[in-house]
């Protein structure tokens, strides 16, 4: 029997770990639709991502999606529900 990893959010992913995007929580901020922007950058459900580097605690994280790397603040990363591998 294999253990099914539980869903979590991107900000909790360990450095070097990969995951699949499951869902983006809607989040509007000052007229900017953060969830939509994240999708436009490639954080689309079904895409594989990898935590490249975590900075200082509480600081931004660097995430690899496709061939690009994006720096996200913690609260942005928390919008992305993922299935870790």
């Amino acid at each position: 029997m294999t253990l099914v990893p539980t869903l979590t959010t991107l900000d909790a992913l360990k450095a070097g770990q990969s995951a699949t995007v499951i869902h983006l929580a809607p989040h509007a901020l000052g007229g900017q639709d953060v969830a939509r922007r994240l999708m436009e950058l490639g954080f689309v459900p079904g895409e594989r991502i990898r935590m490249l580097k975590r900075g200082l605690p509480g600081g931004p994280v660097a995430v690899k999606v496709g061939e690009s790397t994006f720096a996200l603040r913690k609260f942005e990363a928390a919008l992305v529900s993922i299935q870790p591998e």
Binding site: G30, Q32, L38, E40, G42, E67, T69, F70
Partner: protein, 625 residues
Amino acid sequence: MGVMEQQVAARSPLIALLGNPNCGKTALFNRLTGARQKVANYAGVTIERKEGSFTSPAGRALRVLDLPGAYSLSAQTPDEAITRDVVAGLRAGEAAPDAVVCVVNATNLRLNLRLVLEIQRLGLPMLLALNMVDVAKKRGIEIDTAKLAQELGMPVVETVAIQTGGEQALLDALDRMALAPATPNSLDSIDAVPVEQTQREVRRILAACTSHAHDTGNLSEQIDHVVLHPVIGPVVLAALMFVIFQAVFSWAEAPMDFITGSVESIGAWIGGAMPEGPLRSLIVDGIIAGVGGVLVFLPQILILFFFILILEDCGYLPRAAFLLDRMMGGVGLSGRAFIPLLSSFACAIPGVMAARTIQNPRDRLVTIMIAPLMTCSARLPVYALIIAAFIPAREIGMFNLQGLVLFALYALGIVSAMGVAWYMKRRSGGGQHPLLLELPAYHWPHLQTLALGLWERAKIFLTRVGTLILTLMVLLWFLSSFPGAPEGATQPPIYYSVAGMLGRALAVIFEPIGFGWQICIALVPGMAAREVAVGALGTVYALSGSGDEVANTLGPLIAGSWSLATALSLLAWYVYAPQCIATLSVVRRETGSAKYAWMMAGYMFALAYTASFITYRVALYLGAG
């Protein structure tokens, strides 16, 4: 054919370059146009509009517009809104392009193709430039361009923007295209399709047209393991900053001496060739000395931008923003504010302009407001004069006391800036803003981009010197020259001028912080450019000669006539020094409102006065009167 159509037909066709940030679009634009570029702003906003022209191999004259980089046409940032509106023909004063060249980064089609599919829905004539194919091939990414062209239904060409001749395929393809004014579809056609569906289409096309042999070690990732490391990263950043500052001050010395020398000899030459009189004084003391005093900062600005452009081009700057985001986020700034604030150490003007790269309007405003608190190089002559005159060159441990004081002044500026940013964050009560910063793959800086970038900076600075600063210098000359001294005057002529009267009136306000009328008079012309205050002090103390000579003789003179408390108070004043008209006018232009310029002048004046008052009173109490 109506008159309108005839006019449109008479213009050469307009091609828009459009693509994601970091796809090499600007390098391709530079490759196509060389130096035949016009850089201006889009009407009403501070976003750069870059247009150029070139002639195709078939002899067709073409105009090309380098649109701001965009991830999507749903336009989440002001830059993207411009790109969307121009390409959709919705921006007033801008004609819709006759054709769109979509530039994509061949190593990152998964991200780039989504934008291509969005633009395609506008129904304009399109061409895909598969840029950076050389890097893609090296990385083992095979792209079937014929298949891709078939899937997308548009011509696909391979380009290498950083190589001479790397644009040839694009030129040939453009010549094969019929270019006639086209009407784009409505923007609604883009939002009609959800992002997920577009991404599914991208995946399908990628599966059909590309094969990715196993990526053999990604160098960028390996560099990032060091550069983004929580401990090593900041050490590397600090070391880089140290080298840059060293270079800005040591490399610039020779060219600055050269400019000062040339300005002085031109002044002397004209002075000798003209009869004594107000006109000679205006040209020599007002225009040449005044403009020369600002021009002297060109070498420092260029050296600083040399490093900034290299770090930007090779991809390091976003990493610096990543490293600093935690710290700067604490006071409500974005990591992106790092670049404008760094520029402000040379001069607040390019710093304020560089704040354009910050997308969030509030973050951008805070960055602009604190930029002048970074110690600009114009404050250095004043610091140097006072420190040399009042602070003994004593060794304290391994440090020199004078150096420590200078360092403390820089640090005080930075700490105050953080305090102001924190206060503004508290006041606006805004929550967290998204960072969403791409960390592009590293690559070697590109010489042509660097040269054009530096040329652009020099042009902007020289234009300002030639217009606004020149005007201010002439105005200040009038203020400090008229009315002239009466018969049998006992004071230097400036004492009796409008500037002198102003200075003496100001002395009432500045007496509590230890400034006599001499200092107050010097503060008036210091409004044009801070360092002019040194020359003005020279005038007040009726010294003849200029530049270094004044500074050398002025030191002992003020050491004899000011108290230490006054000197320290003036140093504290210059940490905040609100009196830079050039900066205030740029702030007004960049924020589009005089309100913020007044706010800046107001808060900096309040800080300067408070800091000087405390410094002066404490120094008096400690017996430095």
